[in-house]
Symmetry: C3
Subunit: 434 residues, 3 copies
């Protein structure tokens, strides 16, 4: 038996915070209404109407009312989940009491919103005992309102050293008789406040990268069957930086990321999915350069690698160093320097091929990618083999499982997915591995 939790979704790509209140009374729910209207790739997997940092303290009563109003009116049609963020602080009982009262109000069935509310997000949690206090607030609210125990999920924002340590302990604490922490859903990093709590400083005021925090969040999620989500990426215009951050996060097992705008949501929804077409990379001085596809030919356009044919063989120059190579040595060298980024289609193909092999009794098979590499006009044919066994198969399955999770929970994205990959690939991708 592994850890049991109440929550269904296994992956969350986007965690979208929208401000809930604006100064002038009339319009204070405008941003909420706009967020509620998002659909398809612009709509997040999880939407967080934010009644904490994005709302001024003296506007939070109005913020809670706005959440009730907008969610009761538009919640049924919103394609993602809805988890309002209420206020909370490990060191301040009055803040916790406020947060409890806002939860109580928002979840009151008489207000009509709770049918569309999937849970609440608790910021600024402390050590595991503080997480239990938050769980107690959920228990009280559920009991008072006649909601099933555990029906409201609890997600936390990790933004203190003690909360990071608590990540080690969730698995052990979930399921103890006095708590209902099986309601846990997302573990979200909040790097701005975490930096303050850790007293981190950088010359420019930029946030430190905190790789260990992200590892520990991902590990805590893995150990307790939860979902790890990274915090906001402040520079909204820097799309490449945002994508790079997500790639780093995925290598740590952190699938989701906070989005601040519908534009960021779209990027964050798309990036974790396998690419439409595969591509070849050439490792030049420890940096991966993507080759330009021209039919089956993969062309290198840069200046850092050059190749010429001689009477005896080839001269390959990499970063100023010349190597005289036979054809076989050249091929071996280029095999080491290249790697292949598989498309969705490739991954599905390989999985199907391995499944067939397994059925016929084979435990491991070689998968081959072939290409003609072109450098300075010289063509070299390469075949890249990779051994697949059960473990390779299962690791390769992660992006497909993510895709299947998306496909199941987000019918509003089916059309965009079919446009992106083609109906046939989508069909096979939803079947493979089951």
């Amino acid at each position: 038996m592994s850890v049991q939790r109440n929550y269904e979704r296994e992956f969350v790509r986007t965690f979208f915070t929208s401000p809930t209140a604006i100064k002038e009374g009339d319009d204070s729910a405008k941003m909420l209404r706009r967020a509620a209207s998002l659909r398809g790739m612009q709509a997040p997997d999880v939407w967080i109407p934010d009644n904490e940092d994005a709302t001024a303290p003296n506007m939070r009563a109005e913020g809670a009312q706005n959440i009730v109003e907008v969610v009761s009116e538009h919640g049924a049609d919103f394609p993602g989940e809805i988890h309002p963020r209420i206020e909370w602080h490990r060191d301040r009982p009055t803040t916790r009491l406020n947060g409890f009262e806002y939860m109580r109000e928002i979840a009151d069935p008489e207000n009509g919103a709770v049918d569309h509310i999937d849970g609440f997000v608790i910021p600024e949690v402390g050590d595991i005992d503080d997480w239990k206090k938050a769980d107690e607030a959920f228990q009280l609210v559920e009991a008072e309102h006649g909601l099933a125990e555990g029906s409201l999920s609890m997600s936390v924002i990790v933004e203190s050293g003690e909360a990071e340590i608590a990540l080690n302990r969730i698995r052990d604490e979930m399921g103890k008789p006095s708590n209902t922490l099986e309601r846990m859903f997302m573990l979200v990093d909040g790097e701005v406040d975490y930096t303050k709590d850790m007293r981190g400083m950088t010359p420019t005021g930029e946030l430190p990268p905190w790789p260990e925090l992200r590892h520990n969040t991902s590990r805590g999620a893995s150990a307790a069957g939860l979902v790890a989500v990274d915090g906001p990426y402040d520079n909204i215009r820097d799309v490449e930086g945002y994508k790079q951050r997500m790639e780093d996060n995925r290598a740590k097992g952190m699938t989701g990321i906070w989005s601040l705008t519908p534009g960021q949501v779209e990027v964050a929804n798309t990036e974790p999915l396998p690419p439409v077409t595969g591509s070849w990379l050439l490792d030049v001085d420890d940096e991966d350069v993507e080759l330009t596809a021209d039919g089956d030919r993969q062309v290198y356009d840069g200046d850092d690698v050059s190749l010429s044919e001689t009477a005896d063989g080839y001269v390959l120059t990499v970063g100023g160093d010349e190597h005289e190579l036979s054809e076989d040595d050249l091929r071996e060298e280029l095999l080491d320097m290249t790697s292949y980024v598989p498309s969705m289609d490739d991954i599905v193909d390989s999985m199907e091929e391995f499944e067939a092999a397994k059925e016929s009794g084979m435990g491991a098979i070689a998968m081959t990618q072939a290409a003609t590499l072109v450098i300075d006009g010289v063509e070299v044919s390469l075949e890249k083999d990779r051994m697949w066994d059960e473990a390779t198969y299962q690791a390769a399955q992660t992006p497909i499982t993510l895709f299947q999770d998306v496909y199941e929970h987000r019918p509003d994205q089916h059309e965009e997915l079919a446009e992106r990959y083609g109906a046939d690939v989508v069909e096979r991708a939803t079947q493979v591995g089951n």
Copy 2:
């Protein structure tokens, strides 16, 4: 309520170890006397007369006597705190017994030194139970000598795997009825012995960087309200390397560092404070190059970036790649490539501005830095905006809080601070944020 500890200082920049004993009898306290005479920027926040590794085992009885003698004579005038290091070892009871006896002697009121002793540093601690043994030694010494319970602070040197694990547990253990671990003060990394304990090896014998250890020490300090300090930087002549190490440490929330010489103390006292003047950085191939200020103009002198005006717009060349850009695109590109390192004055300004905005009811405002960038004689005006909300404000406050902590506890540095920043900036920096 957050963690309570007895100790007042929130930041420690320098942790200065001075050897306490030399072979020839007559001069054995000379180094101690020299350290005791340090003042101003050359004097550390915390001075550690070292009766462990820096003193030969057979000289430690004499070392303890020297500490008593020098501290009772000069301790009252020493501007920082005094925390002698005594011997201790998680695996050796005789070493622990020796350490206990030296503490007992040094803290004996009849010897006259204890009024100027702030605590003791315990090296080579093991798991949390070993920390409790050390705490017990403090309890016995305080009781016997009629000192208030907890009046002597306890700092530890983390130099074993089990001590690193214990960093996760301090918060939970502090305040339990049988211990007085509220006396904890500094968590210091000791990378030389840690490397040995972990069996770390590098080809040249250089110490590994141990980023995870430093993260865990900083996190443990944050969770338990303590102060994290990094170990010695061996290459005394390598001032740039020492500064770089401190910058890395600050990004991890580790403010303090061990200093081996008054010269290192001075560098380590100065570096964590915000700079006197702001500066602009240009990101060239993932490396930050500081631009040369010439009035409001910020000039790039290197060869890796070039810029020229054409009939249609601009050509920007970065690392060999040419980009033809319109004026707007150029400005956008350069905005992405530049960052600004704020001065003390800038930080105080921004904080004051945000405080005023908050008072007038605004939750977030944009802060702007303007400059004229000059590359190959071509001038481009830039305005860099950054949104400030409560969280940004609080994170930006860290260096100011550090400054205020220094200002409060180190009157002997007031003059040098006023010379460095100007009396006006110092005055405003001590007031802002309170």
Copy 3:
């Protein structure tokens, strides 16, 4: 007192997995027999006949029989230790039951193999309670077969988030009355399955580097007196990459690595040992370039650094930047840019020298390495000093302790070691530090 464990070896360089079964009945033990015949540098410190992932599920009964047959016949002559891997899974009781039954069979004295079996490797462990279940399986097998309690060692493969967290807890759990976890021996990282469990994804399907996992494994091993071993390096042809991974691992305190072929075993046996001859490194743009020895002269052949003599002094050009330097400044600059990789002979020399100094009452001495550096034909004499104290001595001792551990347990490698280092160096290296 430090942690007690039953197991003798302190270092394991190689952990060699061999497949145990092939489809056609007759030959199914062929690979096992071939592995059992390895000797000298091609034989691993620990050999793992793999009855889990490398054997198809329906072949594991036959696999267990093959292990019994081959180990009972050839185990007495095998120079390393033998630890079969049986199947296990934290989330699947039937898999655990199978694993238990295979252990029971392989360890049955009537089958004649157990005299040569040193322990078992348990893959896919979960949290610490799952480790205790595995320990219980050992207790039952030992009791039933009349084997001494704890005589079979237990090693685990860390390939889940919860197992990584358990690494923090081994020290606390070992020695509790209900378990016999003193039988623990190796902590092995299994990055393929770990990546799956953590849901890590990379574009090319390559494994993420997981630096924090390796740190935590090494720290857990250090805290509990165990041995940390890294997982497989898939690209068998990439010897340089394999060596680089081992160098990174050693800097983390992880001495051993999984080998998939006798060729990898040989590399992995040799690399952790100190080199036969010392070498000089020049730091060029944060990369270490090995200089070419020509007698006492150390020649730089690259293009990134150049040096010329002028009327007033020297011009040193590094990465395009010219520096005009006096002879003293040049020497200082080059001292900062160079480092020395000591040979086995150098390390033994330095240790002997420090031991002699310590006996004559000195606590610290300077060790000097001298060389004549040659850049563009210009010669500069350097003397590199390093202070050695007790801590430096003990840290430098790690590779020697490793060597001594090898020498004691692997007589079949004595001849190759003597050929490599010379009999005299081997003799001194086995004596120094004792």
